[in-house]
Assembly symmetry: C2
Amino acid sequence: MTKNLIIALDAMSGDIGPRVTLPAALQALESNPTLKLLLVGQPKAIKSLLTYATAEHISRVEIVPASYVIANNKKPSIAIRNSKETSMRIAIELVKKGQAEACVSAGNTGVLVGLSRLILKSIKGIDKPALMTVLPNQQKKQTVVLDLGANINCSSKMLIQFAIMGSIISEEINNNIKPKVALLNIGEEENKGLDNIREASVILKKITSINYIGYLESNELLTGKTDVLVCDGFSGNILLKTMEGVIRVVFSFLNSTNDMIKNHNCFIQIFKKIIINRITNHFLYLNPDQYNGASILGLRGIVIKSHGSANEKAFKSAINQAIQIINKQVPEKITARLNIVLHKSD
Amino acid sequence: MTKNLIIALDAMSGDIGPRVTLPAALQALESNPTLKLLLVGQPKAIKSLLTYATAEHISRVEIVPASYVIANNKKPSIAIRNSKETSMRIAIELVKKGQAEACVSAGNTGVLVGLSRLILKSIKGIDKPALMTVLPNQQKKQTVVLDLGANINCSSKMLIQFAIMGSIISEEINNNIKPKVALLNIGEEENKGLDNIREASVILKKITSINYIGYLESNELLTGKTDVLVCDGFSGNILLKTMEGVIRVVFSFLNSTNDMIKNHNCFIQIFKKIIINRITNHFLYLNPDQYNGASILGLRGIVIKSHGSANEKAFKSAINQAIQIINKQVPEKITARLNIVLHKSD
């Protein structure tokens, strides 16, 4: 069964808003001929940015009016209470009503996670949804990492639920058979780490359907030693943002090197540029824009969180992630897997 | 008052042991003419590696016999109980007895922290010592980061103690006046993060002697936005190791690029090598070997932990860090500052 590719975009979200989300939306329509987009937001703002869209693209777009936008600095509990008529809430409700298969927003993470849980509800067997993304690794494969910040306190039970969901993503999205699953810790020895991690480790060893390989330290993140890395949301957020911070330093230096070489003669200039571009291209797989888009896994529906500061390319990556998760019917597969595991443990 | 530069080395420690620690020791003697080293370990193993040392270096070296070495994979509590006659314990005891000003070991972190606390005791006003290192940043300055793994659970009180100790290091080692202090968190807003962090933030705002600037996210680690970054040991360890892991990927690619270019003609080969070396050199300031050495701050004595996998250069960095901490009389300054702060809060 192929799903309908209808995605609701919180068009007003993100640091830049529609001036990023709409060009990204048009690019996504261009590369996915069966995609339809529901653009949720202020119609006037959206229409003015669709002036240059082709008639064909316009035919696959529908504007869903929303009067308000959730401010980025609001406390989630307050923002959720006052979320009526906001673009984010309406976009999530379109998923709830079955009018869209997924929703993509670059809005406040806490509010998006909270509202999604409130409106879509968690899958039976999942205590709280988790933020998941797939990161590139040195083996030219991908590592699924979760939670990235939805839950700053995680019980051992939640970590195990994350392990199950991460395994499914690794199987479905990255085509890994029996994906390796590790727990993030600050050492590889049994006695290392916080109580919840050690408890989760004991239980994971007993679950035969999970290919649990033990603890992994964060310096191994990019090595591809594991296919799935499970952690609490606080550690996961630090891990992801540290990696992004370091990589941005590398890129910013490589870019500045490109500028520096302008002084030389033409031949040397071109030659240098070729070498530096080759190095830059190699590292492009690490560019945070490529892997923008974190799925909120464990919901009865699909919600993708984009970076607030995402550019067009990055926001398009988030839309593409939504398409992948729709095509692979991830929520249905999580439900089915949990039914088996829960049944076994009855 | 200038301190005597006498350092006790746990010569048997680390993944490679004396074949790394001793060459590093000789290099440290060469660059510090007033340094004396107490080499703690198995005399036979140590002597065989000192064959090529100059008479002058030998004159500044003393071998202190130790029968055993602490295994790296031991549970700290068990290893500490059985630490009699080990090179690590004897090295720390030399500091306790006043025969050495500092001790450097590449042994098991948990054991080193535990033994140091047991033998040297914490400074009055410090609940538990913290692992601290100084990391390079983009402003060509250094950021003090603590705790890096000594305490996986930290109370708000401990985080404040870390902030005070970090400030002193930033003032003394990095010559910052009124160093900026931030708490590591997963967002900049007041309501973000774990309870201990939010509580610490409230208190830090009231301590006038600390230049507290608020929360910092880990993607800002290398920007130099703060001079001191305070975190619990679990997060700090993940932060540091993620950074190291990503940087090693960058270096390993740059090194492999150097090999790749061998196929071309001589001129192009040399030219490419120059460019790649220049890029590699730029990133050298990020090389983990340069900033190897974490001080265990808050003890009544100086103990430096080196990476277990440190090479000669990295182990020498750890010895150099010990020299800096001795020269700046850090433990005495922490004691004095805490006396003032504790007195004020009486």
